[in-house]
């Protein structure tokens, strides 16, 4: 029998994909399983700068300098035609970009890959304190400061409790508020509080300094840069949160810059700003060990997505799961025969479930779809034109989601907050489609479609949420060729769908004629 060309193409694609993956596994040691994992954080500083056209521009960025309890796996910088030099200033390491003449806006990048260091033990981090200088308070302030410090001293036992009580007092008491207002008048609330606390601690002969960095614990919800207070007790440093006065474990906070709270400074520029983004990834221990080795393989490394900018990596972590979901939908529709509202809406819904979790996702989408259908059926009675009607449904659905989020924030149920991450347009579209089917063909058509969509989305979620699947999709993008081959082959599947075995069960005894 002659093989149809589609099978030849499919076999070639599968062979090519598997071959490339095998080669990369065997030669470069890209791991097949997520394996024993450690967290890796990719932190990217994106500097947008508009230099003064007439003068030579100079941009200084503070970058991590042997951050305690963390290990720098690698760093890259994109210079955009600038000269770069590195220097150490005090406790900080500084990258300096310079350019004699420049027109328009330039984008500079600095990227660091970090993981936890090997020995995260001990509550304090050893290190010499800087010489503590007693600050020179203005005469009008001094009595207030003394009284305040005396009060704190009465309520504390040692240096760290002194720092904690001081931070709390700064926040809670009138005296603290007064002091804050007197000491500093610039910068954000955190910065003001950290700098004021450091100055006050200096007054009590305690070495302290504000530090700039990121909360990088595994469960961290936000990776926005933060300002903390570092205090030295004679043996080592401890970190305090200036808002809550809580002490923070040193392995949870990456110190990016010390003393200074502004990581960016620039000369001769019209404007300069820096934006940080953090990507948390799980990487097997072996990969991290082999990072350096891989850099010797330029071609193989070209296939590795970890070379991309961090926010692009984030996109690809999701994007590369779509083909997996698409193949699952093909299987469900053409081999099983599950009816769904729209072809790939289940995959998009499944990706939304990843932001919530399965139970909350299914519950919320059912709620939103039910509400949307009700709204749509009501709008139908108002006899609106088609497009305004869909727009009205969309608005009603978003209104409903806002209410869910507000209500659940009130009750303190965090699952409901994530409803806002749902792809609105997908849901509005599902609602539109289901309501047309409902009106025209009745619930006996709409309900199976709704159920089919949710079931397919749940299955897709379960599949896409497997760490192994995520790992393979991101580490071996060439496996997409295998998926493509499989899809081509499935595209010629002429056999019965599983549900047809039930649908045509009555015909099993009859003879064809």
């Amino acid at each position: 029998m002659r093989l149809a060309p589609v099978y030849v193409a499919a076999a070639l694609l599968v062979a090519l994909g598997l071959g490339a993956a095998a080669w990369r596994h065997l030669d470069a040691g890209a791991p097949l399983t997520p394996g024993a994992e450690t967290s890796v954080w990719n932190i990217e500083a994106r500097i947008g700068v508009t230099p003064d056209p007439a003068l030579p521009a100079k941009i200084d960025l503070l970058v991590p300098n042997a951050p305690p309890r963390f290990m720098l796996l690698g760093e890259t910088r994109i210079t955009a035609g600038y000269g770069v030099t590195e220097s150490v200033q005090g406790a900080n390491r500084v990258l300096t970009w310079t350019k004699r003449r420049s027109e328009g806006r330039d984008i500079l990048y600095y990227r660091a890959r970090l993981t936890h260091g090997d020995s995260p033990n001990g509550a304090v981090v050893a290190g010499d304190p800087p010489p503590a200088e007693t600050p020179d308070y203005r005469a009008s302030v001094e009595p207030t400061v003394e009284a305040f410090l005396d009060g704190v001293r009465r309520d504390s036992a040692d240096i760290f409790s002194f720092a904690a009580v001081l931070l709390k007092r700064l926040q809670e008491t009138d005296q603290g508020g007064e002091l804050l207002a007197l000491m500093r008048d610039a910068g954000g609330e955190d910065r003001r509080r950290a700098e004021a606390a450091a100055t006050l601690l200096h007054g009590a002969r305690i070495p302290a300094r504000p530090v700039f960095g990121f909360m990088l614990s595994n469960g961290a919800r936000s990776y926005d840069p933060q300002i903390m207070l570092q205090v030295h007790n004679g043996e080592g440093w401890a970190i305090f949160d200036p808002r809550s006065a809580d002490r923070i474990a040193p392995e949870d906070f990456l110190i990016w810059a010390r003393d200074a709270v502004d990581p960016l400074s620039a000369e001769n520029v019209e404007s300069a700003d820096v934006a940080f983004s953090v990507l948390h990834a799980k990487r097997s221990a072996e990969t991290i060990a082999e990072t350096r080795q891989q850099q010797a393989h330029p071609i193989l490394n070209g296939l590795s997505l970890s070379r991309l900018p961090v926010d692009m990596q984030k996109v690809y972590q999701v994007l590369l799961l779509l083909p997996v979901g698409a193949v699952l939908v093909v299987l469900l529709r053409n081999v099983v025969g599950v009816p769904t509202a729209g072809t790939f809406t289940p995959v998009l819904l499944a990706l939304a479930f990843r932001q919530t979790d399965l139970a909350a996702g299914v519950g919320l989408s059912a709620l939103v779809i039910a509400f949307g259908l009700a709204a749509r059926l009501y709008l139908e009675r108002l006899q609106l034109l088609f497009v305004p009607k869909i727009a009205a449904v969309l608005i009603a659905v978003i209104l409903m989601m806002t209410l869910i989020s507000l209500a659940s924030a009130e009750v303190g149920f965090t699952g409901g907050l994530s409803v806002s991450l749902f792809p609105m347009v997908v849901l509005a579209w599902i609602i539109e489609r289901l309501s047309v089917v409902w009106e025209e063909n009745g619930p006996q058509d709409a309900m199976p479609q709704a159920f089919g969509t949710v079931i397919a989305a749940s299955l897709a979620f379960l599949l896409l949420n497997l760490e192994q699947v995520q790992h393979l999709a991101f580490t071996f993008p060439e496996l997409m060729l295998v998926l493509l081959g499989a899809t081509l082959a499935l595209g010629r599947y002429k056999g019965y769908r599983l549900l047809e075995l039930w649908r045509f069960r009555a015909l099993k005894g009859e003879a064809g004629s």
């Binding site: 006899q383 006996q444 002429k494 056999g495 649908r503 045509f504 009555a506 064809g512 004629s513």
Partner: protein, 332 residues
Amino acid sequence: MIGAFAAKLPLATPGELRANGVLGLNRRNLHYVQGENRRALYPLVDDKRQTKRLLESSGVATPKLLGVIEGERDADSCLQRMADAGEGFVVKPAKGSAGKGVTVIEEVLANRRGRILFRTAGGDLLSLSQLRHHLSNILSGVYSFGDRRDSAVVEEVVHPAPPFTEIVWEGIPDIRIVVMRGYPVMAMGRLPTLESDGRGNLHQGAVGVGIRIADGAFAGGQHKNRFISEHPDTLRPLDGYTVPDWGKMLRLAARCTDLVGLGFLGVDIVVDRERGPLILELNARPGVSIQLANRCGLEARLAKAEAWAEAGDAEDAEPADARVARAQAGFA
């Protein structure tokens, strides 16, 4: 082992279905719809305006076209014209499928204050603005594939003829004939029920009744995937009826292939009590439920028709009459 397990379940095995020549959707799509029907010809059957024009110009009987509404501006004048005429009419989306968006107006009424009301086949009363809104929906493409803008077709109401009027309580029964390369291979009657709300779609609860190609006799029925022998509303037995003018109907169906050039075609026919068999619409993707109504797989018949057509290709294609005669002799 799997077979033994399946025997205990209400399932057929793929082997059993294959042995009976049951056609599944995947194979229908790949082998018959994609294999026999050229994409370029789809508009002829997917757009009811084109179908109508083609059928009328070739002298094939079809419900009379009363008007085409291309845009919002035509809608008011056309509705007014229909209201003035006072006769029943049917509104359809030109590119709708599976009966979506079809509204049958049986009668135009005026209430005491002179307001015009339209009585639908289901017995509902629609105001002018309600019907106008339905037309807007059709025009904005709610019922057509891919939400493109659509037109609406207005045509005359069909009045069902006996014997269907005896069997069915409400709705208009029609006959679906699957035609393969010009040979009618299988037929079924679609009888609306109260449950299906007067519509002919089987999965909405209409009754499918097998019709013998040889003589047009009813042969058992199927309702929601179960075999039945009487209509659920009227309790009329489904055996013992014969479709009148059956030969004429088959020839009509066979001619449609010559007109549109689609090798795998579903032809929907209604019988009007005055005008006789009329072609209601054509379908380039006929469904596979017809096998359940006939308790018989399609594959063997499709293969036979293919073989006849290929043998005929050597000389000249057979005319419709000869194809129908061959099919009637071949499919008992």
